[in-house]
């Protein structure tokens, strides 16, 4: 009672606790596993001092489905659809690593049009992924409209995937030796129109709402600054390492398919904060569109899937004429193809970073071991040191700028 009287008479200040006040112990809260800003099922055990983050212990694995174990029991053809389910926001980026790894073991040549189509759709996947990530990032820090606009664009992308492969999200479109089927010319012209008109206008509008916005900058600039050394030590890749100022892009440094023929710029950040990560992704969307336009201009005619009948099935019409084709079809869809014994680690630049596949073959039709290197694992692990000293509300901005999808993180 006396304290209370002191306070109303102005002798003490409740806003400024003095010596003798009760010491406030750190307390621990659970962020997630069911939280809309956790981008899936992430549980962050967060130790707070007031509103300042002292320590974060991310608990992952709530979406663990044992995919690597399942793949060991499946033929190479059957293993491919699992890769769509890793990072379900950019399925073709995942497939790309796997088909390249198997092709490397088989030493299989891929027709040029197949390579162009793979690069073309991998870049469309990148745009599609960044639409989701940029949109949810801005929504996590309080803006609503850009997210809705970018979902419009994402919807367009998904429609294009559907027209190419028959599925909106889990395309299962890439094959060892090329892609499943050729695309109609109308689809390519529609995408070209979309790249010229709708994408730059809508995306430019959406980004113009936030890129120079004062509130958006206050929420992102100087949040979770990562130095170059830290980015290397913590295994960063993709936009995360580029935002830290290292111009490292596997499409440029270790080109696969026809990326060595493409001209594009690699955006890098200067400060390594959340705002840089955001802007790096924004620029990557434009660069992806640039690559796609080059693909459209240069794509040759020809087969899209290897003609090696020991790996790729024959056309349906051919099967009705040729006994040989029928036998190949039957063997490929029962036994599958045998991959020479050996081991490879193939990493590609998925929209989220370096997505690697470590594939061990024992010469049979099933992988002996297929280890997936998720991008999110190393990024999320750095969550602890990145968010130390920031406010609780910054967690959403840091997570949003990391671009984490739990299908891939937990596998």
């Amino acid at each position: 009672m006396a304290d209370y009287l002191d306070e109303i008479e102005g002798r003490t200040d409740a806003g400024k606790p003095e010596v003798g006040d009760v010491a406030i112990a750190n307390y621990t809260i659970n962020f997630g596993p069911q939280h809309p800003a956790a981008h899936g099922v992430l549980r962050l055990v967060t130790e707070l001092d007031g509103e300042i983050i002292e320590r974060i212990d991310p608990h992952v694995g709530l979406l663990h489905r044992g995919t690597e174990k399942l793949i060991e029991y499946k033929t190479y053809t059957q293993a491919l659809p699992y890769f769509d389910r890793f990072d379900y926001c950019s399925p073709l980026g995942m497939e790309h690593s796997f088909v390249l790894a198997v092709e490397k073991l088989l030493d299989l040549e891929v027709p040029l049009r197949g390579q162009y189509l793979r690069v073309f759709f991998a870049e469309l996947t990148r745009i599609c992924n960044h639409m989701l990530n940029l949109g949810s990032h801005v929504m996590d820090v309080g803006a609503m409209t850009p997210n809705l606009w970018m979902f419009e664009l994402r919807e367009d992308c998904l429609n294009f995937f559907e027209r190419a492969s028959g599925a909106r999200m889990h395309s299962n479109y890439f094959r060892v030796g090329g892609v499943r089927q050729d695309v109609p010319l109308k689809l390519l012209t529609d995408i070209a129109d979309w790249l010229d008109t709708r994408l730059p206008r809508l995306f430019g509008d959406a980004i113009s709402l936030v890129a120079e916005n004062r509130i958006f900058k206050q929420r992102n600039v100087d949040i979770a600054v990562v130095s170059r050394d830290d980015a290397i030590k913590w295994g960063f890749s993709g936009p995360m390492i580029r935002a830290a100022g290292i111009p490292w892009d596997l499409r440029r440094q270790q080109p696969y398919d026809v990326y060595d023929r493409m001209e594009f710029d690699i955006p890098v950040g200067t400060r390594g904060d959340c705002y840089d990560r955001f802007m790096v992704r924004v620029e990557e969307v434009y660069q992806s569109a640039r690559i796609m336009k080059q693909c459209l201009a240069e794509m040759p005619e020809g087969p899209v899937l290897t003609l090696d009948r020991k790996v790729a099935p024959p056309k349906r019409g051919e099967m009705k004429q040729s006994m040989e084709a029928l036998i190949h079809h039957f063997k490929l869809f029962t036994e599958g193809y045998h991959v020479p014994a050996g081991e490879v680690y193939v990493a590609t630049e998925s929209p989220k970073g370096e997505f690697g596949v470590y594939l061990v073959s024992d010469g049979t039709n099933k992988p002996y071991r297929c280890k997936v290197r998720p991008t999110a694992f190393s990024h999320l692990q750095a969550m602890d040191f990145m968010s130390k000293g920031h406010m609780l509300a910054d967690i959403t901005a840091i997570l949003g700028a990391m671009d984490i999808v739990f299908g891939e993180c937990d596998r």
Binding site: H64, A347, R411
Partner: protein, 306 residues
């Protein structure tokens, strides 16, 4: 290399540089499928990694990945495979150590903090221990999970399944119940190195029985010396060629009997379809089979014409 896989700097001279830098720490090195892999002694993993990171000409700054692999037939059954990446030289390399369930692998968290979770995952999936990792908890499996699921002797279906129990109002674990046995189809060709014995072939592996004093194979149409042809080609069988010929002999006769009347008709009109054949009466051996369908047919024909 014809495959369009990611292309980095050539492997030329990498093994030599690694041999010079690692010396006796290096157990084995090979360059296969365009990738260099080094096997180092487990106890000296940390020195080897520091040498690989800091030696000019190697400069593997980043640890991309740690993968486990299980080879149950080996005495040290587990591989722990580190993928290193050099930014300055644009090169990848693979470093491998072997271990078993008990011998711990030195942790590389001191060199690359990213190894913390990667080692936790290998521990979770394979049960490999890492000495020096201060936070070696499970990471991907459930709280309280038992076993290491990526070991080859861990069944694909696992041991427990969980469901929401309406009675106890929470999720409960139960031993896994399979409505159908787990099926793992084997498509390996038995002629191309399947590692098991086909059912019925068990005797083939046994030594052939001592040659019985058989009479000379006079009646055989294709006489062959018994001793020089112990097994028929393709399918291993304990039978001698002699016995096969004997067993085939009646079959060959039956085949002959069947093709005695070669089919010579070209059009359906002369094929005799629907007409009683010349041998229709006496030929069927079993009257129950043929007579019953024939009776209605005889009745039907006049009705159809009328």
């Amino acid at each position: 290399m014809r495959a369009p896989a990611p292309a980095y700097t050539s492997n030329e001279g990498v093994i030599e540089a690694a041999q010079a830098a690692l010396g006796a720490l290096l157990v084995e090195s090979k360059d296969a499928v365009g990738e260099v892999s080094l096997t180092v002694a487990r106890e000296s993993l940390i020195e080897a990694m520091i040498a690989l990171r800091d030696t000019p000409g190697l400069e593997y700054q980043q640890l991309s990945e740690i993968a486990g692999a299980d080879y149950p037939s080996r005495p040290e059954r587990f591989d722990v495979v580190y993928q290193l990446l050099s930014f300055t030289r644009n090169h990848r390399i693979r470093v491998r150590v072997t271990t078993d369930e008990e011998k711990p692998v030195p942790s590389v968290t001191g060199i690359w903090p990213v190894a913390g979770w990667l080692e936790r995952e290998v521990y979770d999936m394979y049960g490999v221990l890492f000495e020096g990792n201060t936070d070696l908890r499970r990471i991907l499996t459930d709280y309280g999970f038992v076993g290491h699921p990526l070991r080859k002797d861990f069944p694909q279906t696992g041991y427990v399944e969980l469901r929401y129990s309406e009675e106890s109002k929470r999720v409960v674990y139960e031993p896994v119940k399979l409505a159908q046995d787990f099926r793992n189809f084997d498509f390996l060709s038995p002629w191309e190195g399947a590692a098991y014995v086909l059912p019925g072939d068990e005797k083939a592996a046994a030594p052939p029985p001592p040659p019985a004093p058989t009479p000379a194979p006079a009646p055989a149409p294709a006489p062959a010396p018994v001793a020089s042809q112990p097994e028929a080609k393709g399918a291993p069988t304990p039978l001698t060629a002699d016995a096969i010929v004997k067993a085939d002999a009646p079959a060959a006769k039956a085949t002959k009997a069947r093709v005695r009347k070669p089919k010579t008709t070209d059009s359906t009109a002369e094929s005799g379809a629907g007409k009683p054949g010349p041998e229709a009466g006496p030929a069927p051996a079993d009257p129950d089979v043929v007579k019953k369908p024939r009776k209605p047919r005889v009745k039907k024909t006049p009705e159809g014409e009328a």
